[in-house]
Structure formats: structure tokens, C-alpha cells
């Protein structure tokens, strides 16, 4: 019987939620890796039972765990992330050069074609690749060394490479995003990179149209139309119709366009979802009302989705990795909050249920249909 599996990373462990395709009754397993921060847990699209986990703590640093049985068991893999060549510097908060220092893995992106190949986006921002199921890691140094790296400055949460998208139609093309450097694209399997931030405007940096320095929170694409990208920036929701060459603002009638997550419907490439957050200083929904906004026109025209979501006294945040969709016939949409709820919709967002409550703060949500 096919199942839907929701992989949840939290501040204090990982949880695995499973259901049949109706997505009405959920079984909750966990915490796995109790007490550790799980920044990201994601399964391979080639082999859903291959699951990669980023496990870290202030005490004991970074660990990578791998499951080959769908999350029943895990084994530690390699955790040696060594920057290639001369380490160099990026900008620190005071504007002075600061040496690159590895802190943690924010994002794991399994290959679209090989279950043993996985990418790791790390803080301080860099991209690593493993071709042996996480046992060894090698930096794709063309990103950090392409020329603007010395100008990158951390956002409030650190200089994290938090988003990676693999283009399913153009082998070798990949996108990443870094807070607070911006979005970057490679067309040669990660060997060389360039910024793709034209059209972004950020009032919080000296040159609002700078090549780098933008705090991109998340980018998303639909596999059937990967030339089109959607972005939730610090402020502003944007889209690009040409692989990031140029961005245009599509915030439209959103009540606030600050936020972290953005995602695309599984079957409708122009249907997108965001969760507006009040402001960069107040990381909670407007008026204490948790609302997902959906656009069926690829932006600009947005509708609030509230059925089943708390509409009073709700002051949680939804972090950048904490939304995903499933590919069931009626698309499921999922997101986790810093209050420990995971909300799910089995009807494209028309109505929502909390499928689990009171977990530690949710850092990431990934969904598998297996």
C-alpha cells in the first residue's frame, strides 16, 4: 500500500509521520536523535528508503546520518567538511574580513538520479558533494571562489547555504541560495557559478540593486517548468521566467511580503504558496492569524487560506525549510511551525489539520510518497 511520509526536523530531534493516501490518520514516530538539532532530513527521489539527515549540536558539532530502510534505522556517515584550497575570508558583521569556518549543514539535497550522490549546503556558506552516500565530502569550490565570496556577509541566522534546486530537465543546472548573499546558478554540475540576483531590490543594503548581498530566504521551481523560479526574499515575493536571469516582484495583494517559505503545487506549475510573516522584526503572522496564501496565477493575485488554521493568538513562525508538497492526485501541502505543529492539507490548501502538535520548534519538513 502506498504511503505518505513526512520527514520533520526540529530543534530537538527528528520525527517521521506516516499515513495512507487519504492523509487523514497519521502515525508519529520519534524523536530520532533526541536532543540534537535536525536542520534537514530528506529522502532520495530515486530510492525513497534512502534518507539523509543533518544532525548537529553546539556541543558536538555536525553528524550526518543515513537510513537505507525508510527511517527505521540510521547509521552515522561522514562529517568531515573541509573547505578546498586556501580558505579565504568573507565579510563579518562589522564589515571586516572573517575566515570561513564550518559550523553546520543546513540543507541536504539528494541527487535526482543516483541515491549515493547527495549535496550539502553548509554554514559558512559553501556547497559540498558526496558520491558515496555521505561517507566522504568534497567541496564544489567554484561557488565560494567565483569572485563575490569575499563580499558575502551573514544574515542574522548566519551565512548559511539553505536552498538547493536541481533542474530535472537540464542536467548540470542547479540553483542555490545563501543568506545574505543571494541566489546563484551553475550550468556545469556545480563546477562554476554566477550570481542571479538581477531585479532584486533590497532596501537594507547600501546599493539596493547590488549583484550580491540580498537575503534570499527560499527559492522553488516546478519540475515540469524549471525555467520558472519563485522566490521568497527577506521582503518581497518574486518570480523569474528565465532561470534567474531577471526577477520581477509578484507580491501583489499580499498583506505583508516578508516571509520564509515558498513552494509550488505538485501538478499546477503556476500555483504557489507562501506564509506571510508580519515583519523582519516581528517573526509571527499578522494579527495573530496564521494564513497560508495561494496564488494560482504564479503570483500577484493571492487568496488567504485559513480553514483549519488558528485565527487568533497565533504567534509562531514558519522557517524556510518547513514547507513541502506531496504528489498525490489531490496535492497535499504541509508546513511546520516554531510552535511545534505540523499542518497538512490534502486538498491543495483549501482546508488544514494539525497532524501533530507540540513538537520542538520545526526546522524542516519534507514529504515523500512511496
Amino acid at each position: 500500500m502506498r504511503t505518505v511520509r513526512v520527514l520533520v526536523g526540529t530543534r530537538k530531534g527528528a520525527f517521521i509521520l506516516t499515513s495512507d493516501l487519504k492523509r487523514e490518520q497519521w502515525k508519529v514516530e520519534g524523536p530520532h536523535f533526541a536532543g540534537w538539532e535536525i536542520f534537514h532530513i530528506k529522502g532520495s527521489p530515486v530510492d525513497p528508503n534512502r534518507i539523509y539527515v543533518s544532525q548537529s549540536s553546539s556541543w558536538s558539532g555536525q553528524v550526518i546520518q543515513v537510513s537505507t530502510d525508510g527511517g527505521k534505522t540510521f547509521e552515522p556517515a561522514g562529517n568531515e567538511f573541509i573547505y578546498e584550497g586556501e580558505t579565504g575570508t568573507h565579510q563579518w558583521y562589522d564589515g571586516k574580513p572573517h575566515p570561513w569556518e564550518f559550523k553546520r549543514v543546513w540543507h541536504l539535497e539528494p541527487s535526482l538520479t543516483d541515491p549515493d550522490t547527495v549535496y550539502a549546503g553548509v554554514e559558512d556558506a559553501a556547497l559540498f558533494k558526496s558520491t558515496d552516500a555521505g561517507r566522504t565530502w568534497k567541496e564544489l569550490a567554484g561557488l565560494r571562489q567565483h569572485g563575490t565570496g569575499s563580499a558575502w556577509q551573514p544574515g542574522a541566522g548566519g551565512l548559511g547555504l539553505h536552498t538547493m534546486l536541481l533542474d530535472p530537465k537540464n542536467p548540470g543546472r542547479m540553483y542555490i541560495a545563501i543568506s545574505a548573499a543571494g541566489a546563484f546558478r551553475s550550468d556545469d554540475d556545480g563546477a562554476s557559478w554566477r550570481p542571479i540576483n538581477k531585479g532584486l531590490q533590497s532596501k537594507y543594503i547600501p546599493d539596493p540593486n547590488a549583484e550580491v548581498g540580498h537575503c534570499v530566504h527560499r527559492i522553488a521551481l516546478h519540475p515540469s517548468n524549471p525555467e520558472v523560479l519563485f522566490m521568497q526574499k527577506h521582503w518581497d515575493v518574486l518570480r523569474s521566467d528565465n532561470g534567474g536571469e531577471l526577477w520581477q516582484r509578484v507580491s501583489g495583494n499580499l498583506p505583508t511580503d516578508f516571509g520564509f517559505v515558498i513552494d509550488v503545487h505538485a501538478h499546477e506549475p503556476e500555483t504557489i504558496y507562501v506564509v506571510p510573516i508580519k515583519s523582519d522584526a516581528e517573526h509571527f503572522p499578522l494579527d495573530g492569524q496564521l494564513k497560508v496564501y495561494r496564488s494560482k496565477t504564479g503570483g500577484n493575485e493571492w487568496e488567504a487560506l485559513t480553514n483549519g488554521l488558528p485565527q487568533e493568538n497565533c504567534f509562531v513562525n514558519v522557517l524556510r525549510e518547513a514547507m513541502d508538497v506531496d504528489d498525490c492526485e489531490s496535492c497535499g501541502v504541509y508546513f511546520g511551525t516554531t510552535g511545534g505543529q505540523v499542518y497538512a492539507s490534502n486538498n491543495s490548501g483549501d482546508s488544514w489539520n494539525a497532524i501533530v502538535r507540540d513538537l520542538p520548534a520545526v526546522l524542516s519538513v519534507e514529504v515523500q510518497t512511496c
Binding site: 556541543w59 558539532g61 553528524v63 552515522p76 568531515e80
Partner: protein
């Protein structure tokens, strides 16, 4: 052959699947450095969790105690206390008291 006893914090025992105290066979004049080398050789998943992969420096929030002394800032190549070398006392690897999130 010497038998040095080592106790790890719970989160590292779970990571390395160690049920209780570790007993390490060591030769010569054991040091903190040789003890950690031997520990990581037996339990590779501990690499990088107690000390840095490259510099071999202790991670900031890990501590080394033995014989009611804090040995955290000793030179890595200093000999271990005789009571640890003889197996009378345990070498404690401890997560520092830290609040955090």
C-alpha cells in the same frame, strides 16, 4: 598493556552505540592525544564530535575531567594522571554546562 577507562556523555554514547564505560587498551605513556586517537579509532563516528577534524582542538563545549580535576586546557601531549593510566579513575568526557536553545 594498559587499560584506560573513559566515560562519554549520553548523546555521544547513543551516537556511537556504546552501552556504558569504554575500556581502551593503550601502550607506553598515554596522553590526552593518544587517548582520543584510540577512542576515535575504535568508534569512528565520534570523529569531529569531541575535537576538530583538522586542528584536533577540543570543541568549545566539551570538557575533560579526571581525579576531580579539569584537564580540558591541558596540553594534549601531557601525560594522563597516573590514576587514569592505572585504571583506578575514569577519564570523563563531558558536555559543558550550557543553556542554549
Amino acid at each position: 598493556m594498559l587499560m584506560v577507562r573513559v566515560e562519554l556523555p549520553t548523546h555521544l554514547r547513543i551516537l556511537a552505540k556504546i552501552p556504558g564505560e569504554v575500556q581502551l587498551e593503550m601502550e607506553g605513556e598515554p596522553t590526552q592525544l593518544s587517548l582520543l586517537n584510540a577512542l576515535e579509532a575504535r568508534y569512528p563516528s565520534l570523529k569531529g564530535t569531541i575535537r576538530d577534524h583538522v586542528t584536533k582542538q577540543r570543541r568549545p563545549f566539551m570538557r575533560f575531567f579526571a581525579c576531580e580535576e579539569d584537564l580540558s586546557n591541558n596540553w594534549p601531549e601531557d601525560p594522563l594522571p597516573p590514576e587514569v593510566v592505572s585504571g583506578k579513575e575514569v577519564f570523563l568526557i563531558v558536555g559543558a554546562i550550557a543553556g542554549g536553545l
